[in-house]
């Protein structure tokens, strides 16, 4: 496999690699409902080089031990490092900063909903920390899977560090000759070298993409060549950490193998963690691209994608079509989960129409850019893209400009409209807290929200997080690591280098009550959406006649009838946001500009349209089956 374009200083006879068994492990709190793409992909890459590799979804064993629902609660709690804290004592022993559990008192209001109702939440968490975690680690470290293994590779993203350090500590204690290599998003940039410096159980780290760096590092180990100087590797040398910058990221993603998830299905099945309906309900992770074509030009201010990994690269449409077919057959699943940051717009022309034409019945999740047209949403829907995450983030064009999102509020709402129309589920949030925003920005958004209850609501509204590598991180004056890091990691860890989440301290912050109405209306929207009778706003149209049924608010239902140019005006603003001047042209001058302005205001006043600076957009969805 042509994955090593750099000259390799370690001349290794491929047969020697057979004597270097590797185990790749994914620890809690990686999601348990689908396999790890990191393990699946790296495992296949190393096998391609001739290394004997086993993957180990050890997160599943922990979930089986403590209960899957409780595990999911902990894995989903990213705002505070409670999941990391559970493994902290086992990771750092006497150096762990909070052996007695002060965290549970200091953040009680945020944690009290955790647990499985069997007993007091504190008692449950303490039992997990003091009894279940050590028992789990003991059993895992004693597993025969480690016999004869030369290298343990840990992939760590979000709250996987402490559990990984804890297992590495036990493995190094029991098998001192074993080499531990860490990688993943938690080891990007200066974080990787700092973990190597501060955590004894970390022998080596791969910093950045591992597809090429990891097998090359293993070759050095096989050949007995020191790892110093290997691009993308951090190691200790005479008490110092030596880090060599990563090589340029991989360009030809078609060269990567399809990930192998067999071990996940075998283990999850054995542990009773597969859905009752069988493996067909497990989403298969896939990676059709890396980086972000938008962020290459305009890095959204809150986005923690690293500069070096921002470069956009995509697999060819043919390769992706083949990969879907291969993986569906292998794992008997029709569900796919794209880990891409943003969909390759070329697929809308070259891949999705093919999936639609072939009549495959996949259910695919993709992250997309929000300013998709109606025709593009239809193409996604026809290709089986049933869930999208479009990064809507705000319904204020001014705030969207502040975050450099590259979309307008009216475009965001239009996406929600056509997604609802074509039956595509949308995952999105409202973010606030951007330097330069005003109270008026939020008063205006809060006023629009009640008109949108016939569209999919956000999962919530919250203050933006400050993530390492984001432009906002650069604007943060103090860069104080998120408060709970200090309950997990010893003082010897320089969190300024190792942390990923930071406290919000941006200048010019609005008072919290500036967002109260927005948060309240967001909750009301969710309630309305989940009511027994889902809100609706539907229009029927014929040239010169529009009827709009407004069933958004119980008790205030009714029908609007518009005829002549007003009807045509409403229909003209339905496909996409449009300016008053364009409306004038479309109507052939049947209304004066002043009448158009007046009509748009009247429609907006009744919540039948939104006006977004120069743009107008009808809110109702066409009646009848999607076309």
């Amino acid at each position: 496999m042509p994955l090593a374009p750099l000259p390799n200083p370690a001349r290794v006879d491929p047969a020697d690699r057979a004597g270097w068994p590797v185990v790749l492990v994914s620890m809690p709190f990686m999601d348990i409902d689908w396999p790890s793409i990191q393990l699946g992909l790296l495992g296949e890459i190393l096998r391609g080089h001739g290394f004997p590799v086993r993957t180990l979804h050890a997160n599943l064993d922990f979930a089986a031990r403590i209960g899957a629902d409780y595990y999911r609660q902990l894995a989903g709690r990213q705002a505070r490092l409670i999941a990391e804290w559970l493994f902290s004592v086992e990771a750092f022993g006497p150096e762990a900063p909070d052996p007695d559990g002060r965290l549970l008192d200091d953040f009680a209001t945020e944690l009290a909903d955790l647990g499985d109702d069997s007993r007091d939440w504190r008692a449950r968490l303490l039992e997990t920390r003091r009894v279940e975690v050590p028992a789990y680690l003991d059993r895992l470290a004693a597993d025969p899977v480690w016999d004869g293994v030369k290298v343990a590779g840990f992939t760590s993203t979000f709250q996987q560090n402490a559990a990984s350090f804890a297992l590495a500590r036990r493995l190094k204690r029991d098998r001192p000759e074993l080499i531990t290599v860490f990688g993943g998003a938690n080891f990007d940039g200066e974080m990787g070298p700092e973990w190597v410096r501060a955590v004894e159980s970390v022998d080596l780290a791969v910093v950045g993409e591992a597809d090429t760096a990891f097998p090359r590092l293993l070759d050095r180990l096989v050949a007995g060549v020191p790892p110093t100087g290997e691009p993308g590797v951090a190691c200790r040398l005479d008490g110092e950490v030596v880090t060599t910058p990563p090589a340029p990221p991989l360009r030809q993603l078609d060269d990567l193998p399809a990930p192998d998830y067999a071990e996940y299905f075998e283990r999850a099945g054995r542990l009773g963690l597969l859905p009752r309906t069988g493996p067909g309900a497990v989403p298969i992770p896939f990676e059709s691209s890396r980086g972000c074509w938008w962020g290459e030009k305009h890095h959204c201010t809150f986005c923690g994608l690293n500069g070096s990994t921002m470069m956009f690269r995509a697999k060819s449409p043919q390769r992706m079509a083949d990969e879907f077919v291969t993986q569906a057959r292998r794992y008997h699943s029709f569900r796919f989960h794209g880990v891409d940051n943003i969909v390759d717009m070329g697929y809308l022309k070259d891949l999705f129409p093919v999936l639609a034409a072939e009549g495959v019945t996949y259910q695919i999740f993709y992250e997309v850019k929000a300013n998709l047209t109606r025709a593009q949403v239809r193409t996604l829907a026809q290709a089986g893209i049933t869930q999208i995450q479009p990064g809507i983030e705000s319904l204020s064009s001014r705030v969207l400009r502040l975050m450099r999102k590259g979309s307008r509020a009216a475009q965001n709402i239009n996406l929600l409209r056509w997604a609802a129309y074509y039956g595509v589920e949308v995952g999105w949030n409202l973010l606030y807290g951007f330097p330069g925003e005003t109270e008026q920005d939020y008063a205006q958004q809060a006023a629009v929200l009640p008109h949108l209850v016939h569209l999919q609501p956000p999962t919530g509204a919250g203050r933006v997080w400050i993530e390492r590598f984001s432009p906002l991180f650069g604007q943060s004056p103090s860069r104080t690591p998120e408060a709970t890091y200090r309950y997990v990691y010893p003082d010897t860890v320089d969190l300024g280098k190792a942390a990923y989440f930071f406290e919000y301290d941006l200048p010019g912050a609005l008072p919290p009550d500036a967002y109260t109405a927005l948060v309240k209306e967001t909750a009301a929207w969710s309630d309305a959406w989940s009511a027994a009778r889902r809100p609706t706003l539907t229009y029927w149209s014929s040239p010169g006649l529009v009827q709009i049924y407004d069933g958004r608010h119980p008790g205030a239902e009714g029908t609007y009838t518009f005829e002549g140019p007003l009807a045509d005006l409403y229909a003209a603003c339905s496909d996409r946001p449009i300016t008053a001047a364009a409306v004038h042209d479309r109507l052939g001058g049947s209304l004066t500009p002043a009448q158009i302005r007046e009509a748009l205001d009247e429609f907006a006043g009744r919540g039948l349209m939104v006006l977004d600076e120069s743009l107008a957009l009808s809110l109702a969805l066409p009646a009848g089956p999607p076309r």
Binding site: W540, T559, Y560, E563, L566, D575, G588, S590, G624
Partner: protein, 74 residues
């Protein structure tokens, strides 16, 4: 499907394109079929049409998918 998609779906044979009320041409909607604009006089003020546009009442849910609205008086 939009009207312009319809025109693209020809198979090499020149097809007759029917303009429904001028939709495809972007002309004044309604004019091509010579439809009148019903009871609303063309010179009625915009506000006036809005004032009389709303009929309160919940629709029968089952009537929604079909091409007619059934309005029940409150």
């Amino acid at each position: 499907m939009t009207m312009s998609d319809t025109t693209k779906r020809t198979t090499g044979r020149r097809s007759t394109v029917v303009l429904l009320g001028g939709l495809a041409a972007g002309a004044v909607l309604g004019a091509a079929l010579g439809v009148t604009t019903g009871d609303a006089p063309r010179d009625a003020s915009v506000q006036e049409q809005f004032r009389s546009a709303f009929t309160p009442g919940a629709a029968q849910t089952e009537s929604l998918p079909i091409n007619r609205i059934v309005v029940t008086e409150p």
